[in-house]
Amino acid sequence: MPDLSKRAPITEANIVTEGSLEASSVPNLAADPQNQSNGCHAILIGFALLLLTAALAYGVVQNPVLSEDFGSDPGPALQPVLLLWLLGAGGAILVADGLFRLWREPDWPRFSFAGFREMAVPVAMILSLLVAAWLIKRTGFIVVLSVFSIGWGATLALQDLGRKQPRQVILLALGAGLIAAGIYLVFKKLIGVPLD
């Protein structure tokens, strides 16, 4: 898979290539040597798309009204069904391409958990966002936003500064909390959003 985050550094040579619009044209899912570490992700993403297609196809099938006759109107099912075919085909191509390369190219990278470790903090952030959204209804915006900001402010400050500068970490966390309170006030008082 072409992974942008691991693309070759920007040089004049590849700027000239991109300038002539060649960079975007080749649908080769693992050709870029910079991206070899993510090769097997193509198969995983392909399977995920096939699962999504199956789930959405179930959504169409279990709703027979969608397939009724609407006269000359092709009906509300036309676009979703066509798109599901395309999505399914896309997923199948990713899986087939990945499997073919695993079979034909012994050097193609095998699955690795290394990339997943990097995702630990972002996954924690997503979970905390979902918890925050759940708590907002119960405790109100200001409490949730303040706690969320101070918590994440401290976490990110620790990530940057380590534990050797506790005073700086506390100041940054409190600063993040204050900014959150400021944003809350601007939206509530100036824009009139009912943030209760």
Binding site: G75, L130, F141, L156, Q159, A176
Partner: protein, 499 residues
């Protein structure tokens, strides 16, 4: 009608609140654009909710100001720390940073500022000249033509997406599918709701854009810790020598023309425009080997192109209702919130809105120049903003902003979901902007295909009407030709190896 337009323009010109919003928008736009990790699209997406409480003229003044300011802001970090603040500034760093390292940081910023202004003005001129012409032609378009143009937008998007055409197309399909969730607007029949009442509302463009361009980028930013950025703060003299600067007018003009025209191609975007402008300037140069060593032409060409794109990208938006880039895709969300659907009918029914767009863009360009001249010396300090505070503030803005769309926590959950999906897509190299484009273009495509069929009751209508057929042929060629060219290249290489 013209009196109404004149009154609107006059009122906008004399309205202190509007002028204040324009100046504030440019300032915030420059600051956010300058911060690495905050793209222009992200700046626009997270600041969009601030416009909900404004009337339409104020909202447009503010948003276009943010748009214009952030595009220039991207060059500041490119020049001072060698990290482009926005994708449009990726080329600026190649000569901007070496020039700053050579002790000419202040001059590099001034070159970027004046090139941005020149590009902004030329983009504006092109918008003012071309938009009414295209709209007058587009007024004759009927449903088959609109359906074909929506498909063309998707084809261009897939073609110009970073990575491969195939993955861009796949992301566009996901966006089109997302747009079908909820009640079908023609028959009110539920699609993909799975019995959940909240899904009947569909998945909003703004929460999705805030998630994909805001939260997804925050998630990427928190993967690792990082040392505090140390920008070049010693700017020395700000004004470059007149003799050197006066020779660069033509470079700026060429870059602006490239930028404005590339920007006007649906979905092409500034990253392509700057690359084309830089490559063109290098090809024409007497000493091409000097590019990349810190020469002013290497800043002026991409920066003028980058800012000319702003006006260019607004052309397909207000004439055809199709976004020119990811930023104008976010602007569509803002217009829908204010009850406006962009398209050629605007030139007949909402000419005052078109006038506001013209005035707002010109104001924004002038305000960017003024604020840049006053603030360039101080913007380096912005780059020292601690990451912990910045990313937390952006996250809070995303939460509150997506809630403010409909005062609903459902939109917050949608935003978080799209943030997670966008993050995964970024990690595996699938472009995310096509998802939002798909969400914008999906309803246009479906509505016009179905309306065409209801009126003509014949699928051949799309290929028997000349404009529709031509647009479809171009779209097909856009998708197929790169693949064929790659295949031909592979075959040629195999043949050579065989010999």
């Amino acid at each position: 009608m013209l009196t109404e337009v004149f009154n609107t323009v006059l009122h906008t010109l004399t309205d202190p609140v509007g002028l204040g919003l324009c100046l504030g928008g440019v300032l915030v736009g420059i600051i956010l654009g300058a911060l690495p990790g905050i793209s222009s699209t992200m700046a626009l997406a997270v600041l969009l909710p601030f416009s909900f409480g404004m009337n339409l003229p104020h909202a447009m003044l503010f948003l276009i100001a943010v748009f214009s300011g952030s595009v220039y802001g991207g060059s500041i970090s490119a020049i001072l720390i060698n990290i482009p603040g926005t994708p449009g500034a990726i080329v600026t760093q190649m000569d901007g940073y070496p020039m700053a390292r050579n002790g000419r940081a202040g001059e590099a910023l001034t070159y970027a500022l004046f090139a941005s202004t020149l590009g902004g003005i030329l983009g504006w001129i092109l918008l003012v000249i071309l938009a009414p012409l295209i709209a007058s032609v587009a007024l004759a378009f009927q449903s088959p033509e609109y359906a074909a143009i929506a498909l063309f937008g998707l084809a261009m998007l897939a073609y110009s997406s970073p990575g491969s055409t195939f993955l861009g197309l796949l992301a566009g399909v996901i966006g089109l599918l997302v747009a079908t969730v909820g009640l079908d607007p023609t028959t009110d029949i539920e699609r993909f709701t799975f019995g959940l009442g909240s899904l009947q509302l569909g998945l909003g463009i703004i929460p999705a854009a805030v998630g994909i361009f805001g939260i997804a980028e925050v998630l990427k930013g928190i993967e690792h810790g990082g040392p505090r950025l140390r920008p070049i703060e010693k700017l020395s003299r700000m004004l470059p020598p007149w003799q050197e600067a006066s020779r660069l007018w033509v470079t700026g003009l060429r870059g602006s023309i490239v930028g404005a025209f590339v920007g006007a191609i649906p979905a092409a975007g500034s990253a392509i425009a700057v690359a084309v402008a830089y490559a063109q300037e290098k090809r024409r140069a007497k000493n091409p080997e000097k590019f990349g060593t810190g020469i002013p032409a290497g800043i002026v060409a991409p920066e003028s192109a980058n800012n000319a794109c702003v006006g260019g990208a607004l052309i397909p938006l207000i004439t055809l209702g199709i976004p020119g880039d990811s930023m104008t895709a976010v602007l569509v969300g803002a217009l829908l919130i204010h009850g406006l659907r962009p398209g050629p009918a605007m030139f007949e029914q909402h000419l005052d809105f078109v006038a506001i767009v013209y005035v707002a863009l010109l104001f924004a360009v002038v305000a960017t120049l003024a604020i840049g001249l006053l603030g360039n010396r101080y913007f380096a300090r912005i780059l020292r903003t601690p990451r912990a505070m910045l990313l937390t503030a952006v996250t809070v803005l995303c939460i509150v902003g997506s809630y403010a769309v409909r005062n609903s926590l459902y939109d917050v959950v949608v935003m978080i979901g799209f943030g997670g999906v966008g993050y995964v897509m970024n990690r595996v190299g699938i472009p995310t902007a096509p998802v939002i484009f798909g969400m914008v273009l999906g309803p246009i495509l479906e509505e016009n295909v179905r309306r065409s069929m209801i009126i003509y009751d014949d699928w051949s209508v799309f290929v028997t009407r000349p404009i529709s057929a031509a647009v479809l042929a171009i779209s097909l060629a856009t998708l197929v030709l790169p693949g064929l060219r790659a295949l031909a290249g592979q075959l040629a290489r195999r043949k050579t190896r065989g010999v």
